[in-house]
């Protein structure tokens, strides 16, 4: 069986994230709660508060307790995976298997939280709402959630990376017309950073944010109304 090239970047990103989490855990254990947080501790606290507020505003307390850690992890992973193009890795999210797995996790979570909050009877009933023949439509809508979530992330990232490849080869051809130093892609060095900023950093942050926003609001939509 042939190993896809994205496998190595998936392993590298996962290892980097594991090391980062171990490092942050060490810092947090040593951290004195009465002192002022600085550096990476402050960053982590702000990040956790932001995600926690977002999850709490769209779901209820019971769900937020279990959902927040997952959302924090998945947002950090998607962000790291999207910006790994900056370090000349192939972004793991430009492999459809990765985004399909992330979308499948979201879909399973939607079903699980719906089951927990409605109970077995209410959950079964929700498949046949508003009346019985709609079971086909409900099934299709669950499937299309998975498809659109995974394809959105995949399409955005792979279009960015393909555009960067095309632009690099175009700039390489242009810089070949410069005498003496043309073999080195000198126009690319001047033009590419702006494009990297948009396609890797901005698009990466936006896609991670959109993915978690959609995940949280899809889960919040499935929950029964509460006062």
């Amino acid at each position: 069986m042939e190993i896809q090239s994205a496998v190595y970047s998936i392993i590298i990103v996962t290892l980097f994230m594991a090391l980062l989490l171990v490092y942050i855990n060490r810092k947090l254990v040593k951290f004195d709660p009465l002192s002022r947080p600085t550096g990476i501790v402050l960053l982590v606290i702000m990040y956790a508060q932001m995600i926690d507020n977002m999850v709490r505003s769209k779901t209820n307390e019971k769900v937020a307790k279990y959902l927040t850690p997952y959302i924090m992890t998945v947002a950090a992973y998607i962000f790291l995976a999207n910006i790994s193009g900056l370090f000349s890795l192939e972004p793991p999210t430009s492999n459809y298997s990765v985004t399909l797995a992330l979308g499948a996790i979201t879909c399973i979570l939607i079903e699980v939280f719906s089951f927990i909050c409605r109970g077995p009877k209410g959950y079964l009933k929700s498949w046949f709402e508003p009346f019985a023949p709609f079971v086909v439509m409900n099934l299709m809508s669950k499937f299309s959630t998975l498809l659109s979530l995974s394809l959105r992330l995949f399409g955005n990232i792979i279009s960015g990376s393909i555009l960067m490849t095309v632009i690099y080869s175009m700039l390489g051809n242009i810089s070949k017309s410069i005498p003496f130093i043309g073999e080195f892609n000198i126009v690319g060095v001047a033009v590419a950073p702006v494009l990297h900023f948009y396609f890797d950093l901005f698009s990466g942050v936006m896609q991670a944010f959109i993915f978690i926003t959609l995940t949280v609001s899809f889960i919040g939509k499935e929950l029964p109304e509460e006062k």
């Binding site: 959109i210 926003t213 609001s217």
Partner: protein, 76 residues
């Protein structure tokens, strides 16, 4: 000849994205307008606008995907 037709088909596919672009701009315009009218609801409007833009973007992504399929699967 076949390759030229495939390139043409892929280019035609991506044309579906232009309507998405206009409409996504419309989402942003409406969001800015309603934040101007009601600044207190900015947080809610922002998240709704992002969700709306993201969902309407799906169409453009499918267009792009079909174009990729034409180029890399049929053309290869």
């Amino acid at each position: 000849m076949e390759k030229a037709l495939m390139a043409f088909a892929a280019a035609l596919c991506v044309c579906g994205g232009c309507v998405t672009g206009i409409m996504e701009g419309k989402v942003a315009v409406q969001a800015v307008e309603s934040i101007g009218k009601n600044p207190d609801a900015a947080d809610k409007i922002q998240s709704m606008a992002i969700i709306g833009a993201a969902i309407s973007e799906t169409c453009a992504i499918y267009c792009l995907l079909v174009a990729f399929l034409i180029i890399f699967v049929l053309g290869a």
